[in-house]
């Protein structure tokens, strides 16, 4: 490897795994860092210990893909350096700071593939900070990785493909699902018919989830408005409007989410240029079809670069690795690269279908009640944010953060940033693309601050 530093792959989900595999195939030895204790990412997350459930029980129709990824990553042992439970918290001048095993390791890299994934997209609703309310992804993690249900009688609300998948998984696990509340109007689902040509199996699977939920008596409501979660110290129920009526249901757990949002902070620290993506309603790091960013030898793959799903992540991970190899003048199969790009383009068209079937309810942002928390870290209400916007004529998101502290807490705006942008756009009559994006800061997530004892103290102690 002629003394060059090794490539760094951040994330060991479907994109990171396929990227690492392709790098190894090209004769490179990447360093793979991942926050989780085992590979798989969120979608193919592994349990901490076996619990008697089969891969089919855990991953359903995707069991084969999950097992292949876990197996293929295990086969890379000895050919990669792999740091699990490792947090990349800073990137600067070709070096990465990684917190692992209680210490900071600064590593130089030559080629960086960011496969940082996604989390649930949220708009605040009354009661969303109550104990017993989790994201849809979080509800799934509880069930899949921990074998726990988030309640004994659960409601799933929001929109997006995950809404019906998680509800179905809970039902299959024997948990009482009280209702599925979809913000999308029923008519939006006809868009899925357009998806039949592209990916019939995925569309039919979704239809099967809905049919089986219905068959088991789960109440399915669409066109849900005015959604609120009730309770004082924990969830006691949900209320909403649909079909021209007010509804109320008792429950002790709520899974909530409005599809997904990309984790882009690492790309920001790497210096990547961003562009606004209308479909995701978010500023995303620029990339070409191969995954190259505006920064030489920095590549993106998977949902962290825009929401495309796990099947796309596998292909984008491999494609980005091929790009890295090409840029290092290593031989790569251009035929394979072209094929991956064609498959990604097809998935991209399907994403348009999904977005039409599960549209983001942007109008909810204008309706967030004044006393509903917008920023759950700093406990800033929507009303306080609106006051700041009005009083200081704020038109840009970082200014709103500086004045109101929205997005300044421990999550660094991961959870509230998108909602704050929607609120600011609504309040000022601007387009969502015109309010800017939160600048990312190191450390990307909280890191332990350990002060070494001074030399004099050490002598005293000894």
């Amino acid at each position: 490897m002629s003394g060059r530093a090794q490539p760094l792959v951040v994330g060991a989900g479907p994109a990171g795994i396929r990227a690492a595999q392709a790098l190894v195939a090209a004769g490179l030895r990447p360093l793979v860092v991942d926050e989780a204790p085992a590979c798989g990412g969120q979608i193919y997350r592994q349990r901490l210990v076996p619990d008697g459930r089969s891969a089919e029980a855990l991953y359903g129709s995707e069991a084969g893909k999950a097992q292949a990824l876990h197996r293929d990553f295990a086969a890379l042992t000895g050919h990669i350096d792999y740091w699990p439970q490792a947090l990349l918290w800073n990137l600067r001048d070709g070096e990465a700071d990684i917190a692992v095993a209680g210490e900071n390791r600064r590593v130089a890299y030559d080629g960086l593939i960011l496969a940082t994934g996604a989390t649930d997209r949220i708009l605040p609703i009354p009661g969303w900070t109550l104990p017993g309310v989790f994201t849809l992804g979080g509800s799934q993690v509880a069930l899949k990785a921990q074998g726990c249900a988030i309640g004994s009688r659960v409601v799933f609300a929001g929109t997006g493909p995950l809404l019906y998948l998680v509800a179905w998984q809970y039902m299959k696990a024997g948990v009482e699902v009280a209702a599925v509340l979809d913000a999308a109007p029923f008519s939006a689902k006809f868009a899925m018919l357009r998806g039949l040509k592209l990916f019939p199996a995925i569309v039919l699977r979704g239809m099967r989830f809905v049919a089986e939920l219905k068959l088991r008596g789960v109440a399915l409501h669409s066109g849900v408005e005015g959604l609120r979660i009730e309770g004082s110290r924990e969830v006691s129920g949900v209320a909403w409007r649909s079909g021209g009526r007010e509804h109320r249901l008792a429950c002790d757990g709520v899974g909530y989410g409005l599809a997904l949002r990309s984790e882009t902070q690492a790309a920001d620290l790497a210096g990547c240029a961003f562009r606004f993506d209308q479909r995701d309603r978010a500023w995303l790091p620029q990339r070409d079809a191969a995954g190259r960013t505006s920064v030489p030898r920095v590549y993106l793959a998977g949902d962290g670069a825009g929401i495309f799903g796990a099947d796309a992540a596998e292909r984008a991970g491999e494609r980005a690795a091929l790009a890295l190899c090409e840029d290092r003048r290593l031989p790569v199969s251009l035929e394979r690269a072209a094929r991956l790009e064609r498959e990604l383009a097809r998935i991209d068209r399907f994403r348009d279908v999904l977005e039409a079937a599960f549209p983001f309810p942007a109008h909810w942002a204008g309706a967030i009640a004044g006393d509903t928390l917008l920023c759950r870290c700093e406990e800033i209400s929507a009303g306080e944010a609106r006051d700041a916007i009005g009083r200081y004529d704020i038109v840009e998101l970082n200014r709103l953060k500086a004045v109101s502290r929205v997005g300044m807490g421990r999550c660094q705006g991961r959870i509230c940033g998108g909602a704050a942008a929607e609120l600011l756009a609504t309040e000022t009559g601007q387009g969502i693309e015109d309010v800017g994006r939160l600048r990312s800061q190191a450390p990307l997530k909280p890191v332990p601050l350990v002060l070494q004892p001074a030399a004099r103290d050490r002598e005293t102690a000894a």
């Binding site: 210990v49 992804g137 074998g147 726990c148 759950r376 406990e379």
Partner: protein
């Protein structure tokens, strides 16, 4: 009162820990979040309003589930495996 309900691992090896001084048992394979919420309805109180919080994303993104050990160490509950003997403090003023 417990927020999470176990479906699997009910008979896995017990792991002893304390929650606000109370002796509790988790199971092998638990995260701290699972261990706490199998016994309680919250993992902490908001430092601003004092309202209970119990995590949100369960994947290390939202930072809602940081908990404090009796010794003062702070841990993110959803990404930390439960270890025997952990002494967790969820309520202000309960630290011994």
């Amino acid at each position: 009162m417990p927020l999470l309900h176990r479906i699997t691992r009910k008979d896995h090896a017990p792991i002893a820990f304390t929650l606000d001084g109370r002796a509790c048992e988790g199971r092998a394979g638990d995260t701290l979040l699972t261990a706490i919420l199998s016994h309680a309805g919250a993992v902490r109180q908001s430092e601003f309003s004092g309202k209970p919080r119990a995590g949100f994303c369960q994947m290390g993104a939202c930072q809602d589930c940081w908990v404090t050990l009796a010794g003062g160490e702070r841990l993110r509950a959803c990404t930390t495996p439960l270890a025997a003997g952990m002494s967790i403090v969820t309520q202000a003023g309960r630290a011994s």
